[in-house]
């Protein structure tokens, strides 16, 4: 006899508001239904009531983890409509900030995954590491969550001494190599909780059009930083880690390898940062009538903004945001099919879901 087990909208396993109704036979999940929208904020509607300064501050609040990425994507779209191009130094600063945010997001995710595995020491280790990343972000921007770095035409703050940040990156990489990656990749606890769990086949990954580490862990070799470079990524050398297994362990591996690649990109961005101004265009912009679309590879995958403007207006006519969790989340239904009920919190967490983004 099958029965339905609701998980959420408020659940100790996942402290974010969404609901997964699981249809189970015994301890095995047969199917699942997803419900979101518990904290829907109507941000796309609000964006139409904000001027070109206010809309940046508003969209920074779509997500608390990748707030920089959201303003970067928005500003890139607005720059296209204003006919502006960020100067080279600003593009390097944007690259460095985007990679720091990726580090922050991946380390945070690793901590939460460790907690869900019942590995609390690792949770504390990851969160201590995350503090170090946030210290760097604070040193650059003066802020720990909403950095207020992006503006139309560049960035608001310069990194005055980029080379001074290199020891912090070295320390972070050393710590990742010494503790986090070996433990996640070799410990029997991590292996038994992650290997062969929550498999998303390559066919299903294509069909669901998943993005980011979730796609790359199912053998899909896609990354906008390489395939459609923005900021200064065209000048960076890095690898795109891809795993084929499609399970929770593969998603963990991909993120662990991406942390190392982020450190590599950061080192290049900070070392090769060209001199010059960090913004162009002043404080008044003339947007042309039309639509511009911008895409960025956020820590969780592709973010896309479509921005529409009417010439002479201070407010956007329309801002549409498609976040990575919005496309990755429906795939959970396929990941939990056949899984043990006890594994479902970790399976859900393995896509690194963001409900703030989804309920934008």
């Amino acid at each position: 006899m099958s029965y339905k087990i609701p998980m959420g909208p408020y659940h100790p396993g996942l402290e974010e508001p969404y609901k997964l109704d699981m249809i189970c036979e015994g301890e095995t999940v047969q199917d699942a239904e997803l419900n979101i929208g518990f904290n829907f904020r109507g941000i796309e509607h609000l964006a139409e009531t904000r001027n070109y300064f206010q809309v940046i501050a508003l969209m920074e609040r779509v997500c608390g983890i990748c707030s920089f990425i959201h303003t970067l994507t928005l500003c890139q779209a607005m720059e296209q409509l204003a006919g502006l191009e960020a100067p080279p130094r600003a593009r390097y600063i944007r690259t460095a900030m985007a990679e720091l945010e990726r580090l922050h997001s991946h380390v945070l995710w690793a901590g939460i995954a460790a907690k869900l595995m019942g590995f609390k020491t690792m949770f504390m280790t990851c969160f201590a590491l995350r503090e170090k990343v946030m210290d760097v972000l604070q040193a650059i921007s003066g802020n720990r969550v909403n950095y207020s770095m992006n503006r139309v035409g560049g960035v608001n703050r310069d990194i005055e001494d980029p080379l001074a940040l290199l020891p912090l990156i070295d320390e972070l990489e050393r710590e990742m190599m010494r503790t986090v990656i070996p433990i996640f990749t070799t410990s029997s606890t991590a292996r038994s909780r992650c290997a062969g769990i929550g498999i998303l086949t390559p066919e299903k990954a294509v069909s669901c059009a998943v993005v980011g580490p979730t796609a790359r862990a199912s053998g899909i070799n896609q990354d906008l930083r390489r395939d459609a470079p923005y900021a200064a990524y065209a000048e960076m050398k890095f690898e795109v880690p891809v795993e084929k297994a499609g399970d929770v362990r593969a998603r963990l591996f991909v993120r662990a390898l991406e942390i190392m690649e982020s450190c590599r990109i950061l080192r290049q961005a900070l070392t090769d940062m060209p001199p010059g101004e960090v913004a162009v265009g002043g404080d008044k912009f003339a947007f042309v009538t039309g639509t511009a679309t911008s895409r960025v590879e956020a820590p969780r995958g592709e973010v896309i903004y479509s921005v529409s403007w009417k010439e002479g207006s201070r407010n956007p006519a329309r801002v549409h945001v498609r976040t990575p969790t919005y496309v990755n989340m429906p795939a959970i239904r396929w990941m939990v099919r056949g899984a043990r009920l006890a594994d479902t919190p970790l399976i859900q967490a393995s896509i690194d879901p963001c409900y703030s983004c989804t309920d934008r």
Partner: protein, 156 residues
């Protein structure tokens, strides 16, 4: 470029691709969205999203379908006639492209556009509310005054 031309030939569209602000646009003309979705699947293009716009007055709506083909962002706009008092109808591609599920449901809720050939319950974002209350405007009614905070309120 070769893959773009192959795609255009497969779609049966004579008009050329137009590159604008990083997006490759193709006017589908009379080609239906379901045919486009099928060809995109065959070409291994990745569905990204649909962006809906309400056009001025009673001109209806524009739906911009976005796919990714080997890192190129593709855009195909479709215009739907409709006025404030009715729910315009448009073909669903959900059965061809399951990634379109949530965005079709969201557009249905925001603009009251009916994607034919699929069910909508339960609603995705505004459960229990009627469709079209969020982003759709009634052209007959004046737009409400902008409620954005001024500099004083922001400073507080």
């Amino acid at each position: 470029m070769k893959s773009l031309e192959t795609l255009r030939n497969e779609l049966g569209i004579a008009e050329p691709w137009l590159e604008s602000r990083g997006t490759w646009w193709l006017n589908p003309g009379t080609i239906g969205v379901r045919h486009v979705a099928k060809v995109m699947n065959e070409m291994n293009a990745r569905f990204i999203t649909i962006t809906a716009y309400q056009l001025p007055g009673t001109e209806g709506f524009r739906l911009e379908y976005h796919w990714d083909l080997h890192g190129r962002l593709l855009g195909l706009p479709f215009v739907i006639a409709g006025n404030a008092s009715e729910s315009p109808k448009f073909d669903s591609i959900f059965d061809i492209c399951e990634a379109a599920d949530w965005i079709e449901r969201e557009i249905h809720e925001e603009y009251a556009i009916d994607f034919t050939g699929r069910a909508y319950e339960p609603l995705l974002l505004r459960k229990g509310d009627k469709p079209g209350v969020n982003l759709r405007e009634d052209p007959a009614k004046p737009k409400p005054a902008v409620a954005a905070p001024g500099p004083k309120e922001v400073a507080q």
